[in-house]
């Protein structure tokens, strides 16, 4: 396969720093050399590419925008470019890195004690420990505030009971960030080590999406943890949503990466596939498809770069992140479907990537706030009227 050189129709590179370009090129090479050669095999087998954890950690991709604690301390644009390049490989791999960094390391960094940070962040950055984030439950997805999981205070301990569903990295985790309601009905965050008595998990089977990622159900049956395992800086559900903002920001960039992979594949294919004695790229209908793809990718790039600059200036609002997550994942899914179409019958086989991206993106559209929930968040922001219930 020809080397991937990115999509940059309007010279966005001229707006990136030397450091941001270097980060992107390191991750791009890593994905081309080490992810793409093995990803179809894992996707077909439904296995997570564990062998990628050491090189991912060595490059510094876990918690890359965290300062200190053996983390790289990059700005948010460089972090976003990492997500873009990883998802150019596979949404499942990007999900692994997002969860570890934005949903596990970030809450430990932002809401944990100094002891939590020192105990967990370097080990999580080195990939020696894996984490997961347990918010969703079987009966509470878009509405996590209704969660049933409970944390009962018992002396100096907490006793947790409940079930978490659709948890990325669940069964391969050493530590779970679990969100549960206390006796007063307020949401608290806890660090639950997976070897605690009463903690168990099982994997979701039969997925047609994110097959190279682990998705699990977590069961907490009278899991006893000390008060020291509570994240002291949490302020209710709002803190859980802050984690989601971090992750959604990365997903917005990730969508661009998946879209680029599909566009690149469709473009190359259309230039070599001959029908009616010509490359199919010579037909107007095919050109239009390619142009629409490029058009949407280019718009998403500039919107998301601006989002990153706002985040770096500490000026980003959650509804702005919703705008980019909503737009970029939907456009990536549309592009994946259209690319699949350009590939004809070949598009339904996993020798080509577009079908895999298409299936993966169905999950990405749903998790971290479904497309429609983001519509409601943005609607709320512009009208001042909440329309969730």
């Amino acid at each position: 396969m020809a080397k991937f050189t990115g999509v940059d129709f309007l010279d966005m590179d001229s707006l990136l720093s030397e450091e941001e370009l270097l980060v992107r090129s390191s991750v791009r090479e890593f994905v081309s050399e080490e992810v793409l050669p093995i990803i179809e095999h894992h996707n077909r087998a439904g296995t997570f590419p564990k062998e990628l954890i050491p090189p991912v950690a060595e490059l510094g991709l876990l918690g890359a925008n965290i300062e200190g604690y053996d983390c790289a301390g990059l700005n948010n644009v460089a972090y976003g470019l990492i997500m873009q390049e990883l998802e150019r490989g596979d949404s499942g791999l990007r999900s692994f890195v997002s969860v570890q960094g934005a949903l596990v390391m970030y809450p430990i960094y932002a809401f944990g004690s100094e002891a939590h940070r020192e105990q967990w962040l370097p080990a999580l950055a080195k990939g020696e420990k894996i984490g997961c984030f347990g918010l969703t439950e079987p009966d509470f997805g878009s509405n996590p505030g209704g969660m049933l999981t409970r944390a009962r205070k018992d002396g100096n301990d907490w006793v947790l009971n409940g079930t978490k569903m659709w948890i990325t990295n669940g069964s391969i985790s050493d530590v779970a960030v679990i969100w549960a309601k206390n006796d007063e009905g307020e949401v608290e965050g806890f660090l639950v080590e997976s070897d605690r008595k009463g903690f168990s998990s099982s994997d979701v089977e039969g997925k047609f999406s994110l097959r190279a990622s682990v998705t699990s159900e977590l069961y907490l049956e009278d899991v006893r943890i000390p008060e020291a395992n509570r994240l002291p800086g949490c302020q209710g559900l709002k803190s859980a949503l802050k984690c989601l903002s971090q992750a959604r920001y990365g997903i917005a960039w990730g969508g661009i990466g998946a879209a680029m992979a599909c566009y690149d594949e469709a473009l190359r294919y259309s230039q070599t596939r001959i029908q009616f004695d010509k490359p199919i790229a010579s037909f107007q209908l095919v050109q239009r498809k390619l142009v629409e793809m490029l058009n949407e990718i280019t718009k998403a790039q500039f919107m998301t770069l601006q989002l990153g600059r706002l985040k770096d200036a500490n000026k980003v609002r959650p509804a702005q992140i919703s705008l980019a997550k909503r737009n970029n994942v939907a456009m990536a899914l549309d592009i994946a479907r259209e690319a699949r179409d350009v590939l004809g019958a070949n598009g339904i086989c996993d020798e080509y990537q577009s079908g895999r991206h298409m299936c993966n993106l169905e999950s990405v559209k749903t998790y971290e706030g479904t497309h429609d929930i983001h519509t409601l968040i943005i609607g709320h922001a512009i009208t001042g009227i909440p329309a969730y219930e």
Binding site: T5, L21, S26, A72
Partner: protein, 250 residues
């Protein structure tokens, strides 16, 4: 103890090259640039030698346009300690004057080992490394695929037609790297962050391009359409005949 590596900024080998209006240079619009791929083996070799020696500095040197600071920054991110940028206002420079400028800058560093790629991915003259060695009065070994150092002696393997040549030389010496010498490391994010604090020193020089001039650049001829000579075993004799008589490849 200095380990010097020279790198060149070249168009990405995947880039679609268009010839500029002057007919003798390439149009850089939309072209991504990279350190010449063979130079990456040279960088890795320099880093490995410094690590093995447990002392000294890796110094990356580039004669190239202002934008080549990006390629030097990459060397720093991979682990080079500092860099020297010889800014070149000329779009093209012939190998002899390139070597003269580099030799002067490198000579001042009293290097223990100097590494180059075996040739650059753009013009591919394969001259600069050996010319620099000559100017510095150092031995040079080109296109090495292995390198071992014991004391002040280096042993290198070179791939030659039909075999391997094993060469031994005293060091200081100059080496040019062939593919396979090592696996160049990727710049880690920490390396990239650390590189921000390292210096790229700009050195002045005066040496006009001389001698060689590019008269014109022509794109390679369009590839001819293929031809199917027949199907199955029956087609084999005709295929063999054509390969022998027309294509003259067997």
């Amino acid at each position: 103890m200095n380990f010097v590596v020279c790198i060149k900024r070249v168009p990405d080998t995947e880039a679609r090259i268009k010839i500029a209006a002057d007919g003798k240079s390439i149009d850089p619009t939309g072209v991504q640039f990279i350190p010449s791929p063979y130079d990456e083996f040279a960088i890795e070799a320099a880093l490995l030698q410094k690590e093995k020696a447990g002392a000294g500095e890796v110094i990356a040197v580039c004669l190239g346009p202002a934008e080549a600071s990006g390629e030097l920054r990459k060397c720093l991110a991979m682990g080079a300690d500092r860099a020297i940028h010889l800014k070149d206002a000329h779009a093209h420079r012939d190998p002899a004057s390139t070597a003269a400028i580099l030799a002067k800058a490198i000579g001042d560093l009293s290097p223990r080992m100097v590494f180059f790629g075996k040739s650059s991915a753009d013009h591919g003259n394969s001259q600069v490394g050996v010319q620099v060695a000559e100017r510095l009065g150092l031995p040079s070994v080109s296109e090495i695929v292995t390198l071992e150092v014991e004391g002040d002696t280096a042993k290198a393997h070179r791939e030659i037609e039909g075999g391997v040549e094993i060469v031994s030389t005293s060091i200081p010496a100059v080496f040019t790297a062939q593919k396979g010498l090592n696996k160049p490391r990727k710049a880690s994010l920490k390396g990239i962050m650390a590189a921000k604090k390292k210096t790229i020193e700009e050195l002045a020089y005066d040496e006009a391009p001389e001698g060689l001039e590019i008269v014109s650049l022509d794109p390679p001829p369009e590839r001819q359409a293929g031809r199917i000579v027949g199907e199955g075993a029956d087609a084999v004799p005709e295929l063999v005949r054509l390969l022998r008589e027309e294509a003259k490849v067997i």
